[in-house]
Structure formats: structure tokens, C-alpha cells
């Protein structure tokens, strides 16, 4: 058991130490490599959780749900840091970033990883709130790092909406504590997950209901659910592309993870409001809205940002429907979306660099001018649009069919939106990847390793999932009920 505690500590200490070291290192190449190395080390520590895990303490917990998230998060954190080193080299050459900002960027990257790992590992609702706030603030700083007017507007909007969201979430957290206090008693126990879930059946349902509304709106802002999504496309489009990849692939998941934790408290109390319909409504609104908005996008990073809103909507919808099958599909969809969307952003980052623009009208014929980039983008879009044989096809299929059995009307709306989004993505892909290349076209210096790894994993998931993994996800899905 002692080893388990060490592993959990390492997952938090390694990025924190890495951040301090990176703030001291002034050499750019060394900084980029150390960033990747620290991320890799964190990923190894996360894998060690599969072997051994500690008993839940008052502040930290490792359970079957968050192990999935931590491994995914550290894996994508590692591959993104590899992508980041080749991306950043180009930004330095073109003078978009100075050396001082680069140092700041690398240190912030590790602080962000620390914040997300802490949010996933925390057993205390207050601690989790602090960690999510830390992760938000670091991404705000990174989104504004280019200091262009558009980047500043994006960062400011993100900061305002994010902090209002986080304020609502804190109010919800206080209400949860109040609901727990009369049952569990004062002190740390009334904020610990495992204690909360175990005692949730005797909490005051009215307080819980109100708390969940605040928490869903608060953390939902960070997930990018529809009436609260305004910050998301700007933040994705104006920041450095590795940050777009981490935002879409990881930070949205962390916020959704927080919603899931509170949902399980709600479901454990029979007298409380069922959280499902609220989540289904917000999720479905996001899917419908985002799939129509995809058609009007001019900017390639904004296009995929709206696609992230759509997919987070699908996942929220699936968890809202509940039931083992929908939960299983939602969980798998979330993992595969992280991998696919970050792969697409790796691709888009290199494309924007070789073409010198993010405007889709100025990018044409990529398969001719840069075959490797063009075809990987094609593969990524096929995956994200939910076409076979990629993994997201299977999960979307599961979500739609399991909904058909219970609420056919909702399934029809969801299915139609998915088809509409598919049309928009293929239309755009046609323009981007095919035709005669024009405009600027620099040779690419991309590293295809992270890109290839992600797409290979998504393809593998679509063709054959290891039975052990299926069993694991099914087990977690039953836990979520």
C-alpha cells in the first residue's frame, strides 16, 4: 500500500517540479525536451496506478473512474508535449514567440498538467474546485500568449466566462457541504467524495437539487455546453495550437468529470431531482447548435472547436441518458474524442504553419502539396465525423441505438444532427484536402509520431477492442449508474 501513496504523490510532484525546473531553464531546445520528458515520466507514473493504488485519504482518492481519466490525460499530455516541441521550434523561427515567453509557456504547461491531475485525483470537493481554477487560470495565460488583439480578446472572454462559471461552481460546492453537514457532521469528511456518495441517500434533497443546478452550470461552462460555450471557439482559435489540443482533449474532460462526480451523488439520493434530463437537454442543445454552426466557419481551428462542442454535447447526452450501455459508450466516446481531436489539432497546427494562415479559403489541395499532412487530416476528419471503421463510429452508433430503445424522438434529433455535422465536416475536408494547391506552401518539419499514435489507437478501437479494456469500461459504466 505504501507504494500506491508514492505513485499518487509522484503524479502530482513530477509536473510541479518540472514546472519549477522549466522556469529556470533558458535554453529552448532543452526546455522543449525536458517538457516532453517530464510529461512522459508522469504518464509512466499514471500507468503504475494500474498495478497498485492507495487507500482513499481525506484529500486524494484513486478509484476505477478516475484511473481511466488520469491515464488518458497523462498520455495526451505527453504526446502533445512532443508535438509542442516541433510546433514551438517553428514559432521561434518566425518570431511569433520570444525566448522569455517560451520559458513561461513550458512552465505553464506543466502547471496545467499538475492542475488537471490534482482535479482528477482529489477526494475533496473544495480541493477539486481549486485545481480546476488553477488549470483555468493557466490556460487563460497561455491563450493570451501571442498578445495579438484577437488573442487578448479571446483570453479576456475566456477569463470572464470561466471565472463566472467557477464562481457558480463554488456556490454549488458550498451547498453540497451544507447538505452533507447535517448528516456527516462538520469537517473534512463532509467534503470527501467517498463519504458523500456513501451517505448521499440521507441528504436533504432540496439543497442537493439547488447545488446541482449551480454545479452543472458552473462546470458546464468549462465543458462548453451550449448556452455557456461562447469562450470556447475563441480560446481554441487564438492560442497556440498545442494548447487547443490540450483544451479540447483534456480540460473539457476534466470539467465533465467533475459533473459526473456530482451526478453520482445526485443519483444516490432517490428523493433528489434526477440529473439525467438536465444533462440530456444541455447535451442535445449543444449537439444541434454546434452541428449547424459548423457550416458557417471560416477559420480551421474554430471549425474543430465547434466540433468539440458537438462531441462534448454527445458525451453529456449519453451520461444524461444513463444505463450501462449509454454510460459505456459515453466513456469510450470521451476517450476516443480526446485522442482524435488532439490528433486533428496536431495536424492543423502544422497546416497553419506551412500555409501561414488559419483561413480555410486560403488552404487548398493539401493532399497534393503535403501528402502526409493532407491524408492524416483526412483520416482525422473521417474519425471525428463518426464514419467507420474508426472508433467514434462505434460509440456514436451505440449511443444512438441505445437511445432509440428508450426515447426515439431524442434519438432522431441526435442522429439528424450527427448527419448534419458529418456533411459540414466532409464539405470542409473536400476544400482543404483536395483540388489544386495554391497560396504559400512551406516544406513541413512536422513530427508525425504523436499524430500517428493517436490515429492508430482510434482506428484500433474501431476494429478490435481488447476484451480486458471492454470489461474495465463496462465495470466503470455500471459504477456510474
Amino acid at each position: 500500500m505504501g507504494n500506491g501513496v508514492l505513485v499518487v504523490a509522484a503524479i502530482l510532484v513530477v509536473p510541479a517540479l518540472g514546472a519549477a525546473l522549466l522556469a529556470l531553464i533558458s535554453d529552448d531546445r532543452k526546455g522543449a525536451w525536458l517538457n516532453a520528458f517530464v510529461s512522459f515520466l508522469t504518464f509512466l507514473c499514471a500507468l503504475a496506478l494500474l498495478l497498485e493504488r492507495p487507500e482513499p485519504g481525506p484529500f486524494l482518492i484513486v478509484d476505477d473512474l478516475n484511473v481511466v481519466f488520469i491515464i488518458l490525460s497523462t498520455l495526451v499530455g505527453f504526446t502533445t508535449s512532443v508535438f509542442s516541441s516541433s510546433y514551438i521550434a517553428h514559432e521561434l523561427e518566425t518570431g511569433h514567440l520570444t525566448h522569455a515567453y517560451l520559458r513561461f509557456y513550458h512552465a505553464m504547461y506543466q502547471v496545467l498538467m499538475f492542475g488537471m491531475n490534482l482535479a482528477l485525483l482529489s477526494n475533496n470537493v473544495g480541493l477539486m474546485w481549486v485545481a480546476v481554477e488553477l488549470a483555468t487560470l493557466t490556460t487563460v495565460l497561455m491563450v493570451g500568449i501571442y498578445r495579438t488583439p484577437a488573442a487578448l480578446e479571446a483570453a479576456w472572454k475566456y477569463f470572464l466566462l470561466g471565472s463566472v462559471g467557477i464562481a457558480l461552481a463554488l456556490f454549488g460546492t458550498i451547498l453540497v457541504y451544507l447538505a452533507a453537514r447535517s448528516v456527516v457532521g462538520e469537517g473534512l469528511d463532509a467534503m470527501a467524495w467517498n463519504v458523500l456518495v456513501a451517505n448521499a441517500h440521507s441528504f436533504d434533497p432540496a439543497l442537493l437539487n439547488l447545488a446541482f443546478v449551480f454545479l452543472l452550470l458552473g462546470y458546464g461552462t468549462k465543458v462548453g455546453l451550449v448556452p455557456l460555450h461562447a469562450w470556447l471557439p475563441d480560446a481554441h482559435a487564438e492560442g497556440p495550437t498545442p494548447i487547443s489540443a490540450v483544451l479540447s482533449g483534456l480540460l473539457l474532460n476534466v470539467a465533465l468529470f467533475a459533473v459526473l462526480r456530482f451526478k453520482s451523488i445526485m443519483s444516490a439520493n432517490p428523493a433528489a431531482l434526477a440529473p439525467g434530463p438536465l444533462m440530456v437537454t444541455l447535451g442535445l442543445a449543444s449537439v444541434v447548435f454546434a452541428s449547424f454552426m459548423l457550416y458557417r466557419r471560416q477559420d480551421i481551428k474554430r471549425l474543430f472547436a465547434y466540433s468539440s462542442i458537438e462531441h462534448m454535447g454527445i458525451v453529456t447526452f449519453a451520461f444524461g441518458m444513463g444505463g450501462t450501455l449509454a454510460n459505456f459508450a459515453g466513456l469510450l466516446h470521451m476517450a476516443l474524442h480526446s485522442l482524435t481531436k488532439s490528433a486533428i489539432f496536431f495536424c492543423v497546427g502544422h497546416i497553419a504553419q506551412v500555409k501561414g494562415t488559419q483561413r480555410m479559403a486560403d488552404i487548398r489541395g493539401l493532399t497534393v502539396s503535403h501528402p502526409a499532412l493532407g491524408w492524416s487530416l483526412g483520416l482525422g476528419v473521417v474519425a471525428i465525423a463518426g464514419l467507420p471503421p474508426m472508433g467514434l463510429f462505434m460509440t456514436e452508433f451505440l449511443i444512438v441505438t441505445s437511445t432509440f430503445a428508450r426515447a426515439p424522438a431524442l434519438a432522431i434529433i441526435l442522429g439528424a444532427s450527427l448527419v448534419i455535422a458529418l456533411g459540414a465536416l466532409l464539405l470542409r475536408l473536400n476544400g482543404l484536402a483536395f483540388g489544386d494547391p495554391d497560396g504559400r506552401s512551406d516544406p513541413t518539419k512536422a513530427s508525425f509520431l504523436p499524430l500517428g499514435l493517436h490515429l492508430a489507437l482510434v482506428l484500433a478501437a474501431g476494429i478490435w477492442l481488447p476484451p480486458a479494456l471492454v470489461a474495465w469500461f463496462q465495470y466503470v459504466a455500471t459504477l456510474l449508474n
Binding site: N124, G126, L127, W129, V130, E133, L137, V140, L141, G144, R147, P149, A150, L152, E153, A154, A155, W156, F159, L160, S163, V164, A167, L168, L170, F171, T173, I174, L175, Y177, L178, R181, S182, E186, G187, L188, A190, M191, D204, A206, L207, N209, L210, D234, A237, E238, R297, Q298, D299, R302
Partner: protein, 221 residues
């Protein structure tokens, strides 16, 4: 059971906080706005100190001290300097009229009370009213953030929301220190972020009017 006088004083402080929030809504001068924010922070720190006294929770005095030193003294001082340096210590223009904003504010307070009082019946008298008041302060802060276009006033609106949260957190008796520290901590961090942003905005545009920022939409049709 808590002594009724102690309860009345706690309500007095919490109620004054709501009143000061209203005062923030109609201030149309930058210096006035910052001074009223300092008053807001002062009331919050008094309220927290009173809670510490009646709950016999000495750690809450730390929260009160943090609120007093940082939010009632340091931040207003820094904001005054920023405002003078930027040359915007004249009027600020609310988006909708003052009357309309005040009416909306009254509606929000009524909403907060109607929502909170019925469902917190079990939570104890003190927590009940405190929660209703703090939700009012939070909603008024949100209203201020959406009705102003100036970066400095939006930041003040945000910090008044944080004050409301502190009121709620201290009203919840026995809540672990984690949250209080985090709230104070987040305000510090927020100020750093905001400071950086204000100066960046200044470097680029020679103004802190957020309205002008919207000229630079990332996406042109």
C-alpha cells in the same frame, strides 16, 4: 443556540453587503467605484470577523484579515494607480440606464430570497439568511459584469462575486479552511492575471474599453 443579538448583527452585516452591491451598480465614476469596492471588502471582512466570533472559529479571523488587507486596502490602492495611469478616472458608461439596472437588481435579490429561503429550512437560521444574502451579492455582481463595458469595472464586479462567495463559505458553519484559503488565493491570482491583461491591453490599444476590443473579432464574414 445562537444568541438573537449575535444573529441580528450577522444579518446587519450581510444585509449591508447587499446594499453596498447596489451602490456598486450605480457608480458612474471610476474613483467612486473603486472606493465603494473597498467599502464592500470592508463590510465582508467585518461580517467574516463576526462569524468567527459567534462560531468560535478562530481560523475565520485569518480570512477576515486577508479580506481586509488585500481587498479593502491593497487592491483598491493598485486599481487607483492603474486608473490614474491610464487616464480613465472620469465617467464610465453603463450599457442600460441606471434605473433599469437597479430594477433588475431588485428583481434578482427577490429571486435569491425566494429560491434560498424555502429550501434551506434544515440548514439552520444563520446559514439560511446568509445564503440568501450571498446569492443576492453574487447575482448583483453578475449583473454588474454584464452591464459594464469597462475592463476595470468588470474586474470589480468579479471581485464582488468573490466577496459574496466568502460570505456563503463562512456562513456554512465548520467548512474546512481549504475553501477560505482558496478563495483568498484565487483573488490574488486573479489580480495578477488581470494586472497583466490590463497592461497588455494598454500596450496594444491605448484604452481599456472592452467595447473596442470587440472590433477585433477573430472571424470576419
Amino acid at each position: 443556540m445562537i444568541d438573537p443579538l449575535a444573529l441580528d448583527v450577522a444579518h446587519l452585516f450581510a444585509g449591508s453587503l447587499v446594499l453596498v452591491s447596489f451602490m456598486l451598480l450605480y457608480q458612474d465614476r471610476m474613483t467612486g467605484l473603486i472606493n465603494i469596492f473597498a467599502l464592500h471588502a470592508l463590510v465582508v471582512s467585518l461580517s467574516v470577523a463576526w462569524q468567527a466570533y459567534i462560531q468560535h472559529a478562530p481560523h475565520l479571523y485569518i480570512t477576515a484579515a486577508i479580506a481586509l488587507v488585500i481587498k479593502a486596502v491593497v487592491i483598491p490602492f493598485a486599481l487607483h494607480r492603474i486608473v490614474v495611469r491610464l487616464g480613465i478616472h472620469r465617467t464610465i458608461e453603463p450599457v442600460v440606464g441606471v434605473g433599469l439596472t437597479m430594477l433588475a437588481g431588485i428583481g434578482l435579490v427577490a429571486l435569491a430570497i425566494m429560491v434560498m429561503l424555502p429550501i434551506t429550512a434544515q440548514a439552520g437560521t444563520l446559514a439560511r439568511e446568509d445564503l440568501a444574502f450571498s446569492l443576492s451579492v453574487i447575482l448583483l455582481g453578475l449583473l454588474m459584469m454584464i452591464s459594464r463595458r469597462n475592463a476595470v469595472s468588470q474586474v470589480i464586479g468579479f471581485m464582488s462575486i468573490e466577496n459574496g462567495l466568502i460570505l456563503a463559505a463562512t456562513g456554512a458553519k465548520g467548512m474546512p479552511l481549504v475553501v477560505e484559503i482558496s478563495v483568498a488565493f484565487s483573488i490574488l491570482v486573479a489580480l495578477i492575471v488581470i494586472g497583466i491583461f490590463l497592461f497588455r491591453i494598454r500596450e496594444r490599444f491605448e484604452t481599456v474599453d472592452i467595447h473596442l476590443l470587440h472590433e477585433h473579432r477573430g472571424e470576419q464574414p
